[in-house]
Symmetry: C2
Subunit: 337 residues, 2 copies
Amino acid sequence: MPTMQDVANKAGVTLSTVSHALSGKRPISEETRARIQQAIDELGYHPNELARRLANKESKILGLFFPKYKTGLSEMQFEFVSAAIDAAEKEGYAILLWRSPKDVEALVNLTQQGLVDGVIFMEVRINDPWMIRLRESGFPFAMIGRTEDNTDIGFVDLDHTTAIEEAFDYLVGMGHKKIAYINYSPKLVNSGYGPAVFCSEGYQKAIRKYDLPIIYGECEPTTKDAYHLLQKLLSDHSDLTALVTPNEAGLPGLYQAIRDDGRDIPADFSVVSLASPLRAERLLPTLTTMDFPTDEMGKVGVEILIKFLRQKNMAPAQKILKSKLSIRQSSGPPPVK
Amino acid sequence: MPTMQDVANKAGVTLSTVSHALSGKRPISEETRARIQQAIDELGYHPNELARRLANKESKILGLFFPKYKTGLSEMQFEFVSAAIDAAEKEGYAILLWRSPKDVEALVNLTQQGLVDGVIFMEVRINDPWMIRLRESGFPFAMIGRTEDNTDIGFVDLDHTTAIEEAFDYLVGMGHKKIAYINYSPKLVNSGYGPAVFCSEGYQKAIRKYDLPIIYGECEPTTKDAYHLLQKLLSDHSDLTALVTPNEAGLPGLYQAIRDDGRDIPADFSVVSLASPLRAERLLPTLTTMDFPTDEMGKVGVEILIKFLRQKNMAPAQKILKSKLSIRQSSGPPPVK
DNA sequence: CTGTTAGCGCATTCAT
DNA sequence: ATGAATGCGCTAACAG
């Protein structure tokens, strides 16, 4: 690998001239610039990024903690990551993948290595001591999601509460009276998983607003669990005509339970889920959703972090995105008896 | 951020002593080692990884080109990535995500930056000029998948041919006579997408071996396309009792077409797909698969690359994994007429 | 067992 | 417009 010094020698100039020619940070005569360029071409020179970043005291790398693959939860995170790469690349950053470390101190150590300029978190819980500790350390980071106290922490999240509420608005508006709500798994609900908490609030609001009967269940992100849960709800409430869920992982099971109960979607039963549009199109009938803007969230999360990196004096941005209703084939008015 | 020099000063020793104490590359007396450790603790010192890697002439980072999210193709790649992270981390490497560059030269440039020690590719085509060019450049890389001429290129791939053949072995063994084969999309087939090519070979072998009628279709990785394709095949061949496909993205559509044709899975119709077990469990009825060992492939791909990095004189390893049959609820004997 | 010194490859502040 | 010199933070060969 040729170095900058090699280029300088070949072009008959000094190291610093080459450096400045490359960065454009000071005027270089056309003639020497040409000689330098020629030397670069002939040698096939490429700046060593490790050295450049060391000298710059900036790695231009963002760390991202990649959750273990667990059925259900992860498809959306895949979309986050995908969008995050694009957004980062646009700003000259790359994304480095890490597994979540064992404990908080290991996390802090990772950040102190100087390998990444900032980190991004997904899957944060409403009460997440890790985030508190990291804020305390002063290391720049941003969350896709949010905690209870987000003081001085940049994040992008979805307004889950309103999303669920609007799903009910829609179904009630269509004339549905008995609507089930299928939440995330007990484990997620109890651990304070943000979306589970906020979605539940939306459900509470809706049942109060419309004085709806509580037809509620929590289910694992598996087809089987979803199937059995809805089967039970359907047998307990034969007048059920619709359901709302943020737990998209169970959807195939929910669909199947409805069919096996002899009902047709959407003629006899309507389904509305909080989900990524990509997922919605892959089901049959296509799923009516409160859109989960995964692309936007991944993108904005990275942008918030990078903006903060550029002007550390400013407080990091915090954005709560709205979900919008996308009507597809899985929903319609309730059946007329 | 305290530096190694700060630690040395505080401990009353030289920089090099601290360095060696940390690396353990030469004996240090217990006493000074203790003083150094104390200084480290008091200062909260962490080695700067950028500097360390520059001096070592090794970034300990692996680049991975992350495909744009396209419905269907990507769920498995998500599992590749997940497994790759674990395997890399175990060997002290991290994974850096990049989008595929515009052209081959941009790719070569990226590798010459010294930011990554090697790169991993997914989604390689059977005839991929990029891989040829990269081999030519001498930069270390490995493929998850393979091309036509893999001389001196490390890779891990699946024996797709045998997988499809064995799917037919299984169904024929159960007594099925009319079996449809649903391939990847025309675009993938025609572009020489490895899995499409090798799976087709398996299909050819099977129809010859068992003298089966050709009931064949190519379909986009979408629910709708799969639905319409199978609907047509079912109306053209009312005696169809089973299907084999490597194109798991269309599965929900295939299931639906079968149901809408008034058939039950597996009583009236059997389905076998080449797919990741994770995906298989999420369908209902659970899917009989020729297992796609995504975890193993992601892991082995990284291991092959790292092993090569360690001993560059050896030729890189090349592994073709076998798929194994996992019988689940979607398949059984053909209906008795 | 410890210290001295010279890199790793590039950025940048002084000079001229 | 160009050059010389110093530093980024760490490793490692050489010396004692």
